[in-house]
Amino acid sequence: MSAPASLAAVNDFVVKFANVNGSGSASANELFAKSILRMGVPVSPRNIFPSNIQGLPTWYEVRVSEKGWLGRRGGVDLLVQMNPQTWAEDVVELAPGGYLFYDNSKPLPLSRFRPDVNILGMPLTEICNRTYSDPRQRQLFKNILYVGGLAWLLGMELPVLEKLIGEQYKSKEKLLAANIKALNLGYEWSRENLEPLGLQVRRADAVGDRIFMEGNTAAALGCVYGGASVCAWYPITPSSSLAEAFQTYCKKLRVEPETGRNRYAVIQAEDEIASIGVCLGAGWNGARAFTATSGPGVSLMTEFIGLAYFAEIPVTIIDVQRGGPSTGMPTRTQQADLLSCAYASHGDTKHVLLFPEDPTECFEFAATALDLADRLQTPIFVMTDLDIGMNQRLCAPMKWDDARELDRGKVMTAEELEAGRDFGRYLDVDGDGIPYRTYPGTHPTRGSFFTRGTTRDAYARYSEKGPDYVYNVQRLLRKFETAKSLVPAPVVQQSDEKTPYGVLYYGSTSPAMAEAVEELDAHGKPLDTMRLRAFPFPLGVREFVLSHEQVFVVEQNRDGQLRSMLINEFDLDPARVVAVLHYDGTPITARFIADAIASRMKPVRVMPLAGRAA
C-alpha cells in the first residue's frame, strides 16, 4: 500500500474530537481550542452532543482559521477518535490525506482504516494504566494525554497550554501538578514516536482583544447589566445554562454589600407557564423580569404572551432555539421559532423579536430587550439559538456605558398624579401608541386601575363596545410602528461593484455568511447583504428587497419563516425573495450558502466552487 498524501496547511484546518459523553473530555478539548487562541489564531469550536448525560457519543469540532472564519466549515482534516461506537461514521468524514488519531492500546484490523488517510496511533490507555492506579484518573488523564500528543503533532506551544492549565486550577495545587504532568507525558511520548503533521498551528496576531465566550453566558450578563431582578425559568436545553449563569453572576454582582442580601430572585418554576407568569407579575409591579427557554417552553407560554401583549405588560423572553417541532432535535440548532414567537398567542398579535448574531450581541440585546420591554410595555423576544448559546465564540468584548440609565418607559409617578395629571391606562397621550402606567401602591386615591385580558376602554374600564376595542387594537398597531424606530437597525454591506443580487440573513448564520459572500465575490458573484437584527422590520428592508433583482433569504429552518414574515409584512411578491434553507440541525456552512446561492442565481451560470474536500 503506498503512503497516502498528507494534507498540509498552516492555521487553516478542522479538527474533530469524537468522545463519549461524560468521559471528562470537554475540558481537555476546550483547553486545546483555547491554547490555539492564545497563540493568536482564531478558532471556532462547536459542541455536537446528544440529549444524554453519560455514555452516548459527543463530538467537539474545532475550526482553526487565521483568516478569522468562525462559521462551521464542513469536512474534517484531523480526527481524534476516542469513541469506538462512532468509529465508522467518523472515519468516513475525513478528507483524503487527512489524519486519524486514535488510541492504539488494542490493535484494530486493517479493514477499519482508510487507505487514503494517515494513521496516528497513541497507546493512551496503556500509558494511563501504566502511570495511574486510580481508575478515575486513568480515564480522565487520557484526555489531557491526547492534548499533549496533539500539541507536538500540530506544533502548539507547550508553555501556552501549561499556563492555561495553571489558570484553570489556580487554587488546586494537586490537580494542577497532575494535569501538567499528564500533558507533558503525552507531549513527550508523541515527540519520541511520531512526526509533526502537515497541519500546523503557528503563532499569529489575528485574535486582537476579542473574547471567547458562550452566548448564554453573555445573555445572562446582559440581563444582569440590564437590571433584571427577577428570573423565572424551567430547565430546557439549550437555555438552562443561561438562567444558571444569571444566578452565578448575581451571587457575585448583586449582593447588597452592607447586608449580604440579594438584589435578585431566581425562581426555578414548576413549568414554563409559571415561569412567564412570574415574569408578568414582576413586570406589572415594576421590576424587570426575564425568562429563558426554548421552543417547547414558548409553546406553553403562549396564553400568557397574549395577555402581556393585550394588557401591555413588559416581559423579556430569551428563546435559545433548538431543532423543532415537538421535542425535535433538542441538542441541535435551528432558527425555527420565528413565526411561533412573532405571532404567538390567539387573536391578532405581533411581537418584537431581536436577532443577536453572536455572544456580544446576546449581551447587548438582552439589556436592550429589558429596556424595550419597559419602553413598549410588551413582550420582547431575544431569538438566539443553540449554535450561539452553547458554543464558545470569538467575539468583540462586551461594552457598557456607565452613564446609561435603565429606561423604565412611561411610568406616572405619585407626584404627577398628585398634581392632577390625567391618567388613562390605555390612553394614547403622545400619539406613539404607548400609554402611561402606574405601579401598584403609588398613590392613595389616584392612578389605580384594573388589569385584565378582556377588552376595556382607554381608562381600563371593562367594555365590550366595538369602538373601545378598535381604539385599543389600532393603538397597539401604532405602538408596533413605534417599535420600528427603537429596535436595532439592520446592518447593510454594499459590494464594491453594483450588483443585482442581495441577501438577507440573521442570527447565527452571520459567520458562515461573511465567508460565503467573500467566496462568491472571489468568483465574480458580488452580493449586497443586509443582516436583520429585529422584527418589526424597518421600511429600509423593503427598499433593500425592491432595489435588487433577486434577493436570497438565508435561514436555518424548513419553511423560510423570515421570508414569510417579509412577504406578509411588506406585501412583497414572493418571487422576489428566494429561500435558501438549511435545517438538518447542524450549523449552516459557508460552502452550503455559496453553493445554494450560486446555483439559484438568475441567469443560472454553472460555476465550479473551490471547495475543500469534504
Binding site: 471567547f212 437590571g227 447586608t259 421590576a287 424587570r288 435603565l406 392613595p444 386615591t445 389605580s448
Partner: protein, 351 residues
Amino acid sequence: MTYLAKPKLHHPSLTRNAVGYTRRDYEGKVSTLCAGCGHDSISAAIVQACWELDVEPHRVAKLSGIGCSSKTPDYFLGQSHGFNTVHGRMPSVLTGANLANRDLLYMGVSGDGDSASIGIGQLVHVIRRGVAMVYIVENNGVYGLTKGQFSATADAGSVSKKGIKNADEPINLAALALQLGATYVARGFSGDKQQLVPLIKGAIRHRGAAFIDVISPCVAFNNHAGSTKSYEYVREHNEVVNRLDVIPCKSEITVQYPEGSVVDVEQHDGSVLRLRKLAADYEPTDRIAALNHVLAHEARGEVATGLLFVDAGAGDLHEHLNTVATPFNRLGARELCPGSAILDRINASMR
C-alpha cells in the same frame, strides 16, 4: 352595568378607621354576579376585614384568575391595583408581583375550577414556596361562569343541574394546603360572616402563605338539594372547630371572652389570634392533627370550619431567597448594574 359608579358621597355616620378611611372606601364597582351568589358575601367580608384592620387600600394588590369568583376583585377595594390574569395561573403572577415589591399586601382570589382544576399545579407551588399572600378560594363545586360544569371539588356522586352525575373523587383543598405546607389554613362559609371576617383578618396579619377555602354556594348552578356546597347543606353540616378574634398589634386587649378553652397565638407582626376552641380536642398549631381532623370530618360528611392551622413564626419566599429590604421595583441602575470596570474584568477572564 359593570361600571355604573356608586355615589361617592359619604354618609356622615360612616365612621373612619385609624388610617382615615370609611368602609365605603374599601368598596369597589357594583357587582355583576347573580343575586345571592356566595362570592359577593366574601367580597363584603374582605371589605370589612381590611377596614377593621386599617389596611390602606392602595397598599393592597388584588390578583385573580378567570371565573365568577375571579371577577370579584373588581367589586372590592376600588383604590387598589387589580389584575385579572388567565385561568388558573394567578398564583405565578402573584408570586412575581410579590417579588417585585415586598411591601404590599397580596390578595389572591380564585375559584375551585381556577385553583383545583386547571390551576392546581400553580396552587400547589405557590403554597410550597411560601409566598406571603392571602389566597382565597371561593369554592362552589362548579364552574359558575361557564354555566354549571363540575369542578374538581364536586363530590363524587353529586348530580349537576343538567342531570349529569359526577364520578370523580373531590379534592379537599384545605387538606391539600395543609399537606403542602401552607402556614395559615382556614375554612369558612360565605354565609357565616361572623366567622369569615376574623379568618380573613388573621390571614392578612399572617406573614407567609395563608390559604382560606371558603364554601360559597352558586345560586345558579349548585344550590339544589343534594349538593354539598349549597347553603342548606353547609348550614346543617358545618362543624365549627373554633371562633377566632384577631387583635391587631399594640392595641389593648379588651374584648371579653366567655369561659372555656382559649388559645392566644401571637403572629410575627405582634398581632394576636385569639381562638375560642369549640372542639375540645382541636389543636390549631399541629399540622398533622389538623389534617386528621379535617379528613375525619369529611369522612362523616361534615365540613370542618374555622382556623385549622397556623404557624405563627412562619417565614416567606423573600426570607428564603434572602432578598433585600428595598422593593425590587425601587432599585435603579446604581444598585442593579455592576458597571464597566467589572465588565472589563469579565472580558479579560474570557481571553
